[in-house]
Point group: C2
């Protein structure tokens, strides 16, 4: 029996190769990373794909393609979300038609009541999340909020329910829960609806996801072949999950100590980074002799995911590897980078709050 | 284990009492039928109810209540649909807020591909059905088409999915099929959404249904208590299913010989009525001696459901019971009534086609 990936579980997937083989993903080739010439690709953070050839072709030939991602508005945004948005922004620099979903209904129906007790709450999160998303560089026209979207989108989500059987659903997800069926139907609609004639029409599309979201991708691809409209199979790139700051756990909304949120206070950031798990040695002598084990160093990992300056990052890694710098200095560098980023970002969030409210509440 | 009622099955329910007891329905009291003073109630065609007290109170005190019914646009309309619409029209004469659904998405997702292969086809049926519905006396403002309705309705249908578990669904319907889950969510939304603050707000509502639709009613009532909005439990009246014209089978879209369609030709009507199963006797002598067994007579049944003139109908029944009239004469009377009705009705259908198209396609 194939291993089930539950997109709603918070369990971390580490056995990448096993999963690639099991589900037919392809490794993301180095030549594409080189060609795309952006730190998001050059740092081996994007590890696999389905049909990315089609998107490479569009990029090389400067042809349009559809750029899709989104967030379920069920809490505060953190650096994990930022990476996803950075990837979206990269595709936006090409000839992309942009569809960024603020998935408020999805968030409400798929999350437990303790987290999202009402649709009103999901919409509050939506306003907050949207202000951050706009601050990160997306435009109003790149974004839609599910609960304010057109009827055609909902009609299509319901249409899709006829094209997937209960057995298929259960085989892929391991359960048949009504709220999660609804959330899944909305996600398939998010991925496929831009190809309807009322939107862009048949066109290659790209979505960056974590490996744990692959079940949605597989079903969305099946559905693209089953609907009564002409559609390209949607393409996907798979990124590595950013690890948490501590030795155990991953960056996720429910793990405060492991996660840097986009609206963390200065104190929070300092505290979290200072407590981060590193690959540095305990004494100056050891550090000089052995250098940092950068493979396990969470501060290095964070910089690899978010620090854009390729040259500077390589210098830092070199200093760490060769033991010329202690982890304390590395942490100080990361704190300064994050605090600087934070100040600029939060100013933009403040500036975008009114627009976010207008988009979510329509006034 | 309680008997399951499958609203998608075409099996006829005859053991009414058993079902009343099993599912907590109450018999429709004679005093209410008298008070309502309309043939739809006086002829024992409305047999049971849930919470109709609330609606009686609204009617007596001339207070507003919500009037809800609809049709899944999956084929031609027949006399079974007409009865449902007649009941809706009766409530419309009171202080009702009217919500008649043309359920095109429901029809597409819940019906097999042989019947409704695409949403386009469901919309074609919707135009046809809507022209008939308007011809029967509903106004444009009484009606909405699912695929053209407001986003709030869809949002609400998805919201509801969080308030019902897979086990509840399976216990009530006996299965968990994705298309039918979608159709059911839309039906719950059809019944409950008028009580949202964006529509009428909390208010008693009435829907006339066949016993086979009770599963939807039970879940809709459960959901009314579980949503995060204040809602009255929706009330329901249950009507008898009109039997088919032949000895076996019921009036349904898939049984051409048993069913009179609203757009049947004159020839069809004559042929079907002439072949109808009656309680009349074979010879003049027998008929005079024994009279018609009106309990099994399908022509009498048809007249009881659709012939409005109470006095004339009682005369006919008396003539038949006492053997003063042969079944051939009864059939002739029914044919004349139906052909006369047909001529007037089809003229109105023709007149309403453009409006129907405008409502369904928005142009």
């Amino acid at each position: 029996m194939p291993e089930k990936i539950d997109p709603w579980s918070s369990q971390q997937l580490t056995k990448y190769e096993h999963v690639f083989k099991e589900f037919g993903l392809k490794e993301f080739p180095e030549e594409w990373s080189k060609h795309l010439d952006h730190y998001l690709f050059k740092r081996n953070l994007v590890i696999a794909h389905r049909d990315f050839e089609k998107i490479m072709k569009c990029i090389q030939e400067k042809k349009p393609f559809i750029n899709i991602t989104g967030i379920a508005s069920s809490g505060r945004l953190h650096l994990g979300h930022k990476f996803d948005i950075d990837l979206f922004k990269f595709f936006k620099t090409k000839k992309a038609k942009n569809y960024f979903t603020i998935a408020d209904i999805d968030a409400y129906v798929s999350r437990p009541n303790e987290k999202v007790p009402s649709l009103e709450k999901a919409k509050e999160f939506a306003v907050n999340n949207l202000a951050h998303v706009l601050a990160l560089g997306l435009d109003e026209k790149d974004v839609y909020v599910q609960s304010k979207y057109t009827t055609r989108y909902y009609e299509f989500a319901f249409e899709l329910s006829k094209r997937i059987t209960r057995n298929e659903f259960e085989a892929v997800y391991g359960h048949v829960d009504l709220g999660k069926i609804s959330a899944a139907l909305l996600q398939y609609a998010d991925i496929l609806h831009p190809q309807l004639k009322e939107f862009e029409g048949k066109m290659p599309s790209i979505t960056g996801i974590g490996l744990d979201q692959d079940p949605h991708a597989r079903i969305a691809r099946d559905l693209a072949q089953r609907v009564t409209y002409p559609m390209e199979l949607p393409s996907f790139v798979y990124f590595k999950h950013q690890q948490g700051l501590r030795e155990h756990g991953k960056m996720s909304s429910s793990d405060l100590e492991n996660t840097i949120f986009l609206d963390d206070s200065e104190e929070d950031i300092k505290k979290k980074i200072n407590k981060a798990f590193t690959g540095g040695r305990n004494t100056l002598e050891e550090q000089k002799k052995l250098g940092t084990n950068i493979e396990i160093d969470r501060v290095i990992e964070l910089l690899r995911f978010h620090y854009p300056d390729e040259k500077k990052l390589n210098e830092i890694i070199e200093l760490q590897k060769t033991g010329k710098q202690m982890s304390g200095e590395l942490k100080q560098f990361a704190i300064e980078f994050l605090l600087d980023w934070r100040t600029k970002h939060l100013k933009l969030v403040e500036k975008n709050k009114k627009t976010a409210e207008k988009i979510v509440y329509g006034k």
